[in-house]
Symmetry: C2
Subunit: 408 residues, 2 copies
């Protein structure tokens, strides 16, 4: 199977009033820069990366510039040593000035790489999760680019983690029967009224969710505290509630407001400050301990994740395969999280379509704890095979590939 | 004076064989994404940001998306509280997903902001350096966005630094008579032969330079050591020699190879590893002490610089106003460097055109040490007012604005 042509699509969707709005991103139009890898077999690999609207066309153009070298490549050969391929993409001699490994060019890489994994899964006639868990440890590490992270995790350590995780793999594969738990992100978008939040909380519980998220970062912190307490009162102590500030605060604000939240026992506080500020997050984590810090949706590559982990600046790693350079960098970051003893709970720029596969791999093949996967239903009507979340649980997808087909 | 329209230009230049080549960027085509701020007065503000070729058009498109809000703005009003303006640009509710403050969108911001400062200088009928050193401390801090850096430097501390630096300002203004020293970056591009490096070294000394740079990062470190030693032998102990690896090494390699260089006494080792790797640079700095670490050309914003400074991971801060979000973020980073006691030696993506102004401001108004400014002559024929470097010294520019006019 040979890649014969590459095309892109700038897909933008209009959300309902208030959906997707947070304290910083006030006007989202959920969007995908889509990569199509056309082949001589008629099979098409589809990859996506996420954006909030404006500039999605720039990612598409970057995909076209960056993916040139893939045309004419045989899929087996391409995936046989994909770590080297992705190192080359991330270090394009001219385009890397626009990164490296960040912003538009790395989002483009994510879309391209995700398309490669979708194509590979289809060629092997398997869902992505099945393709990945069937790989031997040596095959997994050959997918990864260890450049600039090998002081924290090198190839041999990664191999050892994978080898050791073989123990218990069969038992953990039980998740394929039960499904993977979800959590409801859409209970409390930033501009929702208290009444709507209360209604959404009750509905989330009725729908089988026991974990949910509230957007915080109000100009008056008392509004945040009131709304967080409201959810806690409705759910009682059994529910898991996460608070997400979307980078709104300074370090000083995060410490002060974070302490106010502790009375309602949040499971984590997410993206409290600027997503590149490793040392501020480390100080915050110390100040708010034992309250956990979560971030990752804006952490663009493995080197930065390494810094967050080394500095003990995150407890929940929210790596997103549509923010880092695609499926293989997601796996690399997950392996680092395993080494550092962190929990991985992906952010789902893909609305969970790809990540529903990846959390199965993380749990079964890496032995990472099964926690829950974010669920955002706002785009489900646009996917041909939308994630099936029933009774608060992601059902295991059975279609081949990475579940990125859009409805025509 | 009101901005009536904004246009862009994708300018790419072909270099001579070997020019601009380093261990990582093997095929550069020096390029500028240019912003033109047209006004009702006929005066045009011109701003640039640097790239290596491919993708410069993406920056131009991002400039057009990001700069929309400036059309119709009065220049005095715009610059009266420019800190807020640039905070808004960096936090565009949709485009910030492509950053924040990094990659294509932040390079676009640099070009736009630099054009604003060029326009403001022309409106005031002054060279940029004169405009800046004539500003009162309060006016300087109103240009700056302290978001997410205020745990290290807030507005009042910045004001205090500026106030205290008034002492000695007149004396330091002597640099306007003598000019600002330069250093020669083009002695030893990566693929130059030993013979050409020897010839360039002798020519640099003949041209009045006492400081120069060699590109390192060879597959065989012995090649780097041989070439560094060659320059040292030609110049003797009096010359200042810098070594630049352009991010080539892992931490382990940087420690090992860095130690080998110490015998020839480099002034600094530049960009040894990945430019986002704060903790690896901190460890390297400890391992190689007293050899200094320099970086900044790929550090895209003030929050990351703050981390490098707090972690003691850099001794020379090479902030570049065509990498961070323009002149005002350059000043913010310079103020942080002043607070942390670091030396500022800008990288010159602009070939020194704007930075020849900014180092005068840094020395005169901030009291930062006068060291030297990088000099790269490869594009001088394309500028209408190319930097005049004579006897190894940047002569003070006397044209109004920021010296970014291109030849027609």
């Amino acid at each position: 199977m040979t890649i014969t042509a590459i095309t892109t699509d700038d897909k933008r969707f209009t959300l309902k009033e208030g959906e997707g709005v947070d304290s910083v991103h006030s006007d989202p139009s959920y969007s995908y820069a889509v990569t199509y890898l056309h082949t001589d077999s008629g099979t098409t690999g589809i990859g996506i990366t996420f954006n909030l609207g404006a500039g999605t066309d720039l990612i598409c153009q970057a995909i076209e510039l960056l993916s040139e070298e893939l045309v004419g490549k045989d899929v087996d050969e391409l995936m046989a040593n994909f770590g080297e391929v992705s190192h080359r993409l991330a270090n394009h001699p001219q385009l890397r000035w626009l990164g490296p490994q960040k912003g538009v060019v790395h989002l483009a890489q994510a879309s391209i790489v995700n398309a490669c994994f979708d194509l590979w899964s289809k060629q092997r006639d398997k869902p992505l999760w099945k393709l990945l868990i069937d790989l031997e440890p040596e095959a997994v590490v050959s997918l990864l680019d260890f450049a600039w992270v090998d002081d924290a995790l090198d190839k041999s350590e990664a191999l050892e983690i994978l080898q050791q995780a073989k123990k218990g793999k069969q038992e953990r594969a039980g998740v394929l029967e039960t499904g993977y738990p979800g959590y409801d992100t859409s209970v409390g978008w930033f501009n929702y009224s208290d009444e709507l939040i209360a209604e959404n909380t009750r509905r989330a519980i009725d729908n089988g969710f026991s974990a949910m998220k509230l957007k915080v970062g109000s100009d008056a912190p008392s509004r945040d505290v009131r709304r967080a307490t409201l959810i806690r009162e409705i759910t009682g102590d059994q529910a898991t509630i996460m608070l997400d500030a979307n980078q709104k605060w300074s370090l000083g604000e995060a410490i002060r407001i974070g302490r106010e939240f502790q009375a309602m026992n949040p499971y984590w506080i997410e993206e409290p400050i600027h997503p590149d500020d490793v040392l501020a997050h480390a100080e915050l984590a110390r100040e708010l301990s034992p309250t956990a810090i979560a971030l990752g949706e804006h952490v663009s590559h493995a080197v930065l994740f390494k810094n967050f982990m080394q500095a003990k600046a995150m407890q929940f790693c929210q790596v997103d395969c549509t923010r880092v350079g695609g499926v293989n960098e997601f796996i690399l970051v997950s392996l680092m999280a395993k080494k550092f003893g962190l929990k991985v709970v992906p952010h789902v720029g893909d609305m969970g379509q790809i990540h529903q596969h990846l959390v199965l791999f993380n749990h079964i093949s890496l032995g990472l704890e099964k926690i829950f996967l974010e669920y955002i239903p706002h785009l489900r009507d646009y996917f041909e095979f939308p994630a099936r979340v029933e009774e608060g649980v992601y059902r295991v997808p059975d279609e081949v590939g990475a579940s990125c087909e859009f409805c025509s």
